[in-house]
């Protein structure tokens, strides 16, 4: 039995007990449903353990030599490749992906850019500090989930930040207030107690609530008697009291707040509210935590920042980084790419059809460990070891804390890690494309 870090989601729980003889995992204790699934992935029914190549319209098993040759051929025939994914791989693999992008003059981006990375960059530009899980456990007295449903995305987050006893919060749950702002009564509402504040907001009306709170915090002194955005006046008063009276509050932001709107930027307005509250706060502060799904969603920005001084997407021309106004979405929308290398993600499922259909049209190399909608479309599928179980490496937890992941088992068929495979492609391209 040993203590092990789980790579089932971006919480990277380091308190999982695993029993293994190095060949099989016989017991996993303490993991949530997502964590359990991560360990089960080792022997999943739809695990890919041999390379696949599309021949006559059908994906067929191929040798590694054949598959690598085909991948190199696609890369060499491409002048503007798109590299995307990288949130389900280690930081070392992210670094190898960036180096490959540089070598082949590609545009590289991670899932974070269409997810929580958007909040991260805005918070950074506004100078807002992010908090850590430990800080919330030790000091937090107010937890606000805004457009976030951790019960179904990061299942143990609430166990850790809401129910645990911290150094300065020895009474634990009893003195912590949970506020949830969401148009849907999600599974996260089930943990709420009598002193918590469930706020079912009308869909697409978050902006009205934020603007009212901004006004109340700074200038006016009256809440509309009819309430705002479907939230009743008394609940709004309670929310204001919590926001301005908390010693150590945290707003946990989820996917619900990053939706675009033609007339305003919801995240920016929400972060401005946070700044206003902190200015007005006399005894405490409100900080921010950004929820991410994939286990290393936060890592890519750190790697890109360390290597090139830029967080988010990178574009290379003549093996040099160039400034770009483009984003992943604009690149795909304009079809400004002629092939794609997808690493550990499933854009055919998670991007709008208008974009996924454009990815599907061009040659596609997929590096992943199990079947997805993208694997059904790919021209070459290169399977890899499962990071955090069959290979190690660094990952950044959702609160931007680096955590080392360890290897527990050898991968089937001696599958390479994502890092090894990306480095192999890079090495072969250096040698002109053949071994």
């Amino acid at each position: 039995m040993k203590r092990f870090t789980c790579s089932g989601c971006s919480l990277l729980c380091d308190d999982i007990i695993v029993q293994s003889d190095g060949l099989f995992i016989s017991e996993v204790i303490g993991a949530c449903l997502k964590g359990k699934e991560r360990f089960d992935l080792v022997s999943a029914k739809n695990r890919i353990i041999s390379p696949l190549i599309r021949k006559d319209g059908e994906l067929k098993e191929a040798s590694w030599d054949e598959a690598i040759k085909k991948a190199i051929e696609i890369i060499k025939n491409s002048s503007i490749p798109l590299l995307y994914g990288f949130s389900n791989v280690s930081c070392e693999a992210q670094d190898a992906g960036i180096k490959l992008a540089q070598k082949i003059d590609g545009f590289i981006d991670s899932n974070a850019s269409i997810c929580q990375g958007k909040i991260f960059n805005k918070a950074k530009s506004l100078g807002i500090n992010l908090t850590t899980i430990t800080e919330i456990i030790n000091k937090g007295d107010l937890i606000i989930l805004w457009g976030a449903n951790p019960a179904e995305t990061v299942p143990r987050l609430l166990n850790k930040v809401l129910f645990s006893r911290g150094k300065f919060r020895m009474t634990g749950r009893e003195i912590k207030t949970l506020v949830i702002v969401d148009p849907i009564k999600t599974a996260s509402f089930r943990v709420m107690g009598v002193r918590d504040l469930p706020l079912i907001i009308e869909p697409n009306k978050d902006i009205d609530l934020i603007r009212m709170l901004k006004e109340e915090c700074c200038t006016a002194n009256s809440i509309p008697s009819q309430g705002v955005a479907g939230i009743d006046k008394n609940d709004l008063k309670r929310l204001l009291l919590h926001l301005t009276g908390a010693e150590n509050g945290v707003i946990i932001l989820g996917q619900g707040v990053i939706q675009p709107h033609p007339d305003y930027d919801l995240v920016e307005e929400l972060l401005e509210l946070l700044q206003m509250i902190n200015k007005r706060q006399e005894k405490g502060r409100i900080s921010l935590l950004i929820m991410g799904g994939h286990f290393n969603m936060a890592g890519f920005d750190h790697v890109a920042l360390s290597a090139y001084g830029v967080s988010g997407h990178l574009e290379f021309k003549h093996n040099q980084m160039v400034k770009t106004e483009d984003t992943l979405v604009s690149k795909i929308e304009k079809e400004d790419f002629d092939s794609s290398i997808i690493v550990g993600t499933d854009p055919i499922s998670h991007l709008p059809h208008s974009l996924s259909s454009k990815i599907a049209k061009k040659p596609l190399i997929l590096i992943d460990n199990h079947s997805t909608a993208t694997s059904h479309i790919a021209d070459v599928v290169l399977p890899t070891a499962i990071t955090g179980i069959e290979s190690g490496g660094l990952a950044y937890r959702l609160d931007q804390v680096p955590i080392e992941l360890n290897k527990l088992l050898n991968p089937p068929n001696n599958l390479p890690s994502d890092e090894e495979l990306l480095n192999q492609l890079h090495g072969l391209l250096n040698k002109g494309g053949s071994e």
């Binding site: 449903l33 179904e152 849907i184 697409n204 675009p260 499922s349 709008p352 996924s356 997805t372």
Partner: protein, 125 residues
């Protein structure tokens, strides 16, 4: 009838899990699905043998529909999947996966199959 579509992560309707562990049948059962308020279920004159056709300017999908008290009236919620993303849109270079205006109607047509969607994409290759 006009509704607002919200796609959301649901642990019991998770695309990564279905792709890794499921079959094509379980994929369709758990992802080609939407949830609406019971009052809307009645307004749409739905019965268990009918499906819901959800459409916007982008595309349409036909999915199974279930009642859910937690979904507000006027909203249709779908788990994030290849089905829901046929209706998600790009706005100012950003993805919009929630608060999408859609039309919904009851239909006898069968749910859209995974293979059908993949085939539509492969044709373009």
């Amino acid at each position: 009838m006009e509704f607002i579509l919200n796609s959301m992560r649901k642990i019991d309707n998770d695309q990564a899990k279905e792709h890794a562990f499921g079959t094509e049948q379980s994929l369709e059962e758990n992802l080609a699905i939407c949830f609406i308020n019971p009052k809307d279920f009645e307004k749409l004159k739905l019965v268990s043998s009918l499906q819901l056709k959800i459409s916007n300017e982008e595309k349409y999908v036909i999915v199974k529909v279930e009642k859910d008290d937690n979904i507000p009236e006027g909203m249709v919620a779908m788990p994030v999947s290849i089905w829901s993303n046929r209706l998600s849109v790009v706005q100012n270079n950003e993805l919009q996966t929630k608060n999408i205006v859609v039309n919904v109607e009851a239909t006898h047509e069968p749910i859209m199959k995974f293979k059908e969607i993949i085939q539509e994409l492969l044709v373009k290759k």
